[in-house]
């Protein structure tokens, strides 16, 4: 065995942009893969020392423990305002936010829209799993029609609870956004594509052409009350038809 563990035999290793801290995420949760893709993108671009991240409130509130990057923890919903403050005084740095649907599309809607509208040269990573994970499975702005949550126990009723919000399509309409796309990390192929997308979005920051917005449609096995495999299947069958994957706004050639 020791014969095998040699540097020359190494085919894959954890990105150095991730710390050794054990993640608190539930088994099968998409955050782990999303963190990994973002970390690898930063690593491959060689910008670990030039990147400042902003963590949200939600399941990824402790993201700053997992990324070996200088990071700031924002108040609930305020990540893009915090990132604006950072980018405006540190314009040469790569700045990103990492936010869930409650943080970005409910309490932080105002900040999200105005940050994108100003065209702040930052990357917004938006994890959409249609539910509040950290507080225990309450309805999110992105919860699908009929989808059960602890505050919509009989399913989301559009008449009384409103419609699921496609904030990504909204920000794509704003002149300030440069690149808007929707991806997933639930298969190796999708995860690799997401990494390419994140690399591109980070590189675009140097062009100073506006906000890059990457939605990652993800799962929540614990609060969806499904096994990881069931959750991914449910996501494909229910989330993807409403939140279709692919580029929504690409830079003009």
């Amino acid at each position: 065995m020791s014969e095998l563990i040699k540097p020359e035999n190494l085919v894959y290793q954890k990105s150095k942009v991730l710390t050794d801290k054990v993640m608190h995420y539930c088994p099968g949760c998409g955050h782990g893969a999303a963190h990994k893709m973002l970390a690898e993108a930063i690593d491959e671009l060689g910008i670990q020392n030039e990147t400042i991240g902003v963590a949200p409130v939600g399941c990824s509130v402790l993201a700053y423990y997992y990324f070996d990057l200088d990071m700031t923890e924002a108040a609930h919903g305020r990540a893009t305002a915090v990132a604006t403050g950072i980018k405006r005084v540190m314009p040469d740095k790569y700045v990103f936010t990492y936010q869930g649907d409650g943080d970005l599309a409910a309490i932080g809607t105002g900040e999200t829209i105005h940050t994108c509208n100003r065209g702040e040269n930052i990357l917004i990573v938006f994890i959409n799993n249609g539910i509040y994970g950290m507080t225990g499975g309450q309805m999110a702005p992105t919860t699908l029609e009929g989808m059960k949550s602890s505050t919509s126990p009989f399913g989301r009723d559009i008449k009384t609870m409103g419609n699921p919000l496609k904030l990504t399509e909204i920000v794509a309409q704003l002149k300030g956004t440069y690149y808007v796309t929707r991806q997933s990390v639930h298969t190796p192929g999708n995860a690799r594509r997401t990494k390419r997308v994140l690399k591109k979005a980070l590189e675009y920051q140097k062009l100073n052409k506006g906000t890059c917005f990457v939605e990652i449609v993800s799962n929540c096995p614990s609060n969806w009350k499904m096994s990881p495999v069931e959750a991914n299947k449910w996501m494909e069958e229910n989330m993807f038809p409403f939140y279709p994957l692919g580029d929504i706004k690409v830079p003009e050639q």
């Binding site: 700053y64 990071m71 305020r78 305002a81 915090v82």
Partner: protein
């Protein structure tokens, strides 16, 4: 070279912010302080010093932009007036919790609610007793003149970085809107220091920097609170500021007042002294830390103290704490945007302190 100018309080505050070497201002218009951001936008601070000025979409966004930029170890400020400052309280609590330096100026107007756009001192409690959630303190400076407003911008940044704590300049619509002669200090350089605690991109070989106010373990959060409390004790030991008028003479009575209200009270005191009343004036310049000891020492030799405020009696509670029963403490206040006249205060001295009918 120092310059003497005739300036409006809000504009002088803005000019002082540029000259103090600020890196950024984030704000949102609200009466009676909108001249601050108007002045900054009109006077090209970016060309002058590289200072960034941004009009945010709300006070909530403004204070969070301040939080982000302050975490980078930059000199950052925002200004607003009462309802806007209420909106900022969450962010101020985070800044205090994460121990970041910043300056917030509140050009106070009457409340509660939308209230009025006229001057008031009714945000005293909000400034010195909390405002946002959690056990934290804002170092609070109360200027009484346009000159002090200018000087306190510089002082506020010094204190903010010395203690890594938000500092509030608690002024009001009188000082903000009034034009006065002011001597401006020379342009200070912007910060070049790279602080260990600031987010600037991970330094190889060192731990990554985390700016947060979150500790999920209560034992750890208690340690944070104990550290904050130890810092506040230092602030209380070192940063008490006040001025007195005639208080070192033989006096029977004393007025305690802060900010613009103290200037009106000074006029009343002068008139009372002309009429033979032995009275002095005590003006706290720092509202947190409060000059409890100095007032307590005075109290023993006095027949009574009159607290005068443009509110319903807020600093009054601190005066009573300071006096601790040594002498009687009376109050006179106008509120809702009304300003007391020297005659009204003189009348209060006679009826409430001396007991004339």
């Amino acid at each position: 070279m120092k310059e003497l100018k005739l300036m409006k309080g809000n504009e002088a505050l803005a000019e002082a912010a540029i000259r103090a070497g600020s890196d950024a201002y984030f704000g949102y218009p609200i009466t009676p302080q909108s001249e601050v951001i108007e002045y900054l936008m009109a006077h090209n601070p970016y060309e002058r010093t590289g200072m960034v000025v941004l009009q945010a979409e709300s006070e909530v966004a403004s204070i969070n932009m301040v939080y982000g930029a302050a975490g980078c170890g930059k000199r950052v400020l925002t200004t607003s007036s009462s309802p806007g400052i209420s909106l900022m309280q969450e962010g101020i609590s985070y800044i205090a919790g994460a121990e970041l330096p910043c300056v917030v100026a509140n050009v106070v107007r009457g409340g509660p609610g939308l209230g009025t756009i006229q001057p008031s001192q009714s945000d005293y409690f909000q400034a010195v007793k909390g405002g946002g959630h959690g056990d934290y303190k804002l170092i609070t400076l109360a200027p009484a003149t346009v000159q002090e407003t200018v000087d306190y911008v510089k002082l506020a940044f010094e204190l903010a970085f010395k203690y890594r704590n938000p500092v509030m300049i608690l002024t009001d619509g009188i000082i903000g809107q009034m034009m006065e002669k002011v001597e401006l200090f020379e342009q200070q350089p912007r910060l070049t220091e790279q602080f260990d605690w600031a987010t600037k991109g991970k330094v190889s070989g060192k731990d990554h920097v985390i700016i947060t106010s979150l500790q999920l373990q209560s034992e750890e959060q208690e340690k944070v609170n104990l550290r904050l409390q130890a810092k506040y004790r230092e602030v209380e030991k070192n940063e008490v500021r006040y001025v007195t008028h005639h208080c070192d003479e033989e006096i029977d009575y004393m007025i305690v007042a802060f900010g613009s209200c103290a200037r009106i009270a000074q006029k009343a005191m002068e008139e009372a002294r002309k009429q033979g009343i032995k009275i002095g004036l005590f003006r706290p310049q720092s509202l947190y830390p409060y000059p409890y000891d100095a007032i307590n020492k005075m109290a023993g030799k006095l027949k009574g103290i009159l607290t005068v405020e443009m509110n319903a009696g807020q600093m009054l509670e601190d005066v009573k704490l300071a006096v601790n029963g040594k002498t009687k403490v009376e109050f006179y206040g106008r509120f809702g945007g009304m300003i007391p006249s020297p005659n009204e205060i003189l009348n209060a001295i006679k009826t409430k302190l001396i007991g004339e009918k």
